[in-house]
């Protein structure tokens, strides 16, 4: 368990959009997408869609899901589970904490 990495301010990510955090910062195999849901909450998933090599940070975030910008598969923000074709594999989720408007990421920790 780490103290988390401060990776962004909430204000850096417009609601309904995402921000890619480079793996050189996260230390994970893949980049991590911070995703700002329309209810104001922030979530984190592995960034690269396992189906079509898309960056989920460029996807559309809405109502608890992120929609892949390439082929429109949706993934649950909380657990990364794929919601429908054409993707078939889940995205790995990571724990996020928001403190005083700052986003702290815990790479590899389950939410």
């Amino acid at each position: 368990m780490s103290a988390g990495i401060r990776v962004a301010a909430v204000a850096d990510i417009p609601e309904g959009e995402g921000l890619k955090i480079d793996r050189s910062l996260t230390g994970t195999d893949d980049h991590i997408a911070l995703l700002h849901d329309t209810d104001g909450s922030i979530w984190a998933l592995d960034d690269t869609c396992l189906h079509g090599d898309a960056s989920l940070s460029e996807g559309w975030v809405e109502d608890g899901c992120v929609e892949c910008p390439l082929h429109t598969s949706k993934f649950c923000l909380k657990d990364g589970k794929v919601q429908g074709l054409p993707a078939t594999e889940d995205q790995r989720p990571h724990r996020v904490e928001v403190r005083d408007g700052e986003v702290y990421l815990f790479p590899g920790e389950a939410p």
Binding site: H51, G52, A54, E58, P69, L70, H71, T72, P86
Partner: protein
């Protein structure tokens, strides 16, 4: 006249070769007598001529695509047609307006099925090939199934090679080496500025795009907007009476004099001339600073093409300054068109003035507008009977104002009378010239 039958784009063709079709093009010299003012109705009905228009009118000409106000951030897009070719117009990540053929390079479906919106990529709904805002192929599902020779760089969207903007109007052409847009507009630009250049802020679009289908050849609408004030008192009698609150329309509306601009490239514009010409919508009239417009545009434009009038930019873009209507006549076969109409207003107009102009346009020249209905009925009437064998062989008359075209020093280029077929004759002369000239995608027979 021989011509290449190979496709027009520089894309890989492998061993594909289309069989030759000798004498594919129709010689239309005998169908347009621009000098004598006669027109053969085959130009409205013949399928071969229609297909030749796609190759020789629409492929080489600058065509209206969209208004610049429809694109504010990267990924904003609008889908439209160039002739019968579907295109996407979008703002790329570098904020440049670009246009692409809306057809997947894999199996040919459209990669964008929406009318307009904002996106990150254009993804084909058939198998999922995805293209970015720059037209590059960025994702191919089951990529590993393709041979090593498969290079995604070779399979991007086909791009419209030239896109240019004139005072907010975006045009594109498939012609790889066109006459520049501004040069092709020539003196027509002076008349267009009377609508587009009221002040330094330019124009914006109000609301969405109205679209409707009409039975009728696209040229019936395009030529009328170029050359026809003549129909107004007859066709629009009931509408003019309604606007006069059931009484008699004012004499200065019924008995108008004015000029008609006749452009050598087939454009045309007609307008009444009167020192107190005004915008019809009261709120627009009250807001308009005619003195400032006289300062910027000069008396000749304020007393002429600023307000009432009609115009066509060859081949199929038309506009009406008085109510801010701009429209394109999309060809859909020899006997059908789709009308796509925008309302544009000065960006400097306050909200209530914009709304007044929007409503005035809707009532007069919206899809169910009292004037628009009259015009559509006429075009469909002409088209409906033109397939009759005898009917089709009877020539049409475009002789009004023969020999009246002149340079008078007040208006750029040549003008004729308000009531005249001069711009119509010029429209069809330009059509005849293009139809009988091999286009950029054809081998020069010489």
């Amino acid at each position: 006249m021989s011509s290449s039958t190979e496709p027009v784009t520089a894309t890989p063709r492998g061993a594909l070769r289309r069989p030759a079709e000798p004498a594919r093009n129709v010689d239309v010299a005998g169908l347009v007598d621009a000098e004598g003012g006669l027109l053969d109705r085959a130009v409205f009905t013949d399928e071969r001529i229609y297909r030749q228009e796609m190759r020789r009118i629409f492929a080489p000409s600058w065509l209206f695509l969209a208004h610049a106000d429809q694109f504010h951030r990267p990924g904003d897009f609008f889908t439209t047609w160039m002739g019968e070719d579907p295109v996407i117009v979008t703002m790329d990540k570098g904020r440049r307006i670009r246009a692409y053929l809306n057809s997947c390079r894999h199996r040919g479906a459209r990669v964008c099925r929406a009318d307009f919106g904002t996106t990150r990529n254009f993804t084909c709904t058939y198998h999922g090939w995805s293209f970015n805002l720059e037209g590059d192929l960025v994702s191919v599902p089951n990529r590993e199934g393709y041979p090593e020779t498969f290079d995604t760089a070779q399979w991007g969207l086909v791009e419209v090679p030239h896109v240019a903007t004139y005072h907010g109007l975006i045009f594109g052409t498939w012609n790889p080496s066109p006459v520049p847009l501004r040069a092709s507009l020539g003196d027509m630009a002076w008349y267009m500025d009377a609508m587009l250049d009221h002040d330094a802020h330019g124009t914006v679009v109000v609301g969405g795009v109205h679209k409707w289908v009409l039975e009728g050849n696209w040229k019936l609408a395009a030529e009328q907007f170029a050359t026809d004030w003549y129909h107004v008192n007859m066709s629009h009698a009931s509408a003019l009476t309604v606007l006069a609150n059931g009484g008699k329309p004012k004499q200065e509306i019924v008995h108008r004099t004015g000029r008609q601009y006749v452009d050598p490239n087939g454009h045309g514009a007609g307008f009444p001339v009167h020192p107190r010409n005004r915008f019809d919508a009261q709120a627009v009239h009250d807001w308009t600073d005619y003195a400032a417009l006289r300062e910027r545009l000069g008396d000749a434009r304020v007393e002429g093409p600023l307000t009432n009038g009609h115009a066509t930019v060859f081949p199929n873009f038309s506009y009406l300054p008085v109510n801010g209507s701009i429209r394109i006549w999309h060809p859909k076969g020899p006997d059908r068109m789709e009308v796509w109409a925008w309302t544009i207003v000065d960006a400097s107009m306050p909200e209530e003035v914009r709304e007044a102009q929007r409503l005035y346009n809707l009532r007069t020249f919206g899809p169910s507008g009292v004037f628009e209905q009259d015009d559509g009925e006429n075009w469909s009437e002409v088209q409906a009977i033109a397939r009759g064998f005898v009917t089709n062989s009877v020539a049409l008359n475009y002789q009004m104002g023969m020999g009246s075209e002149r340079e008078d020093g007040r208006y750029p280029g040549k003008t004729s009378e308000l009531y005249s077929d001069a711009a119509g004759r010029s429209f069809y002369a330009r059509w005849r010239q293009l139809m009988n000239t091999p286009a950029w995608h054809e081998e020069d027979p010489a």
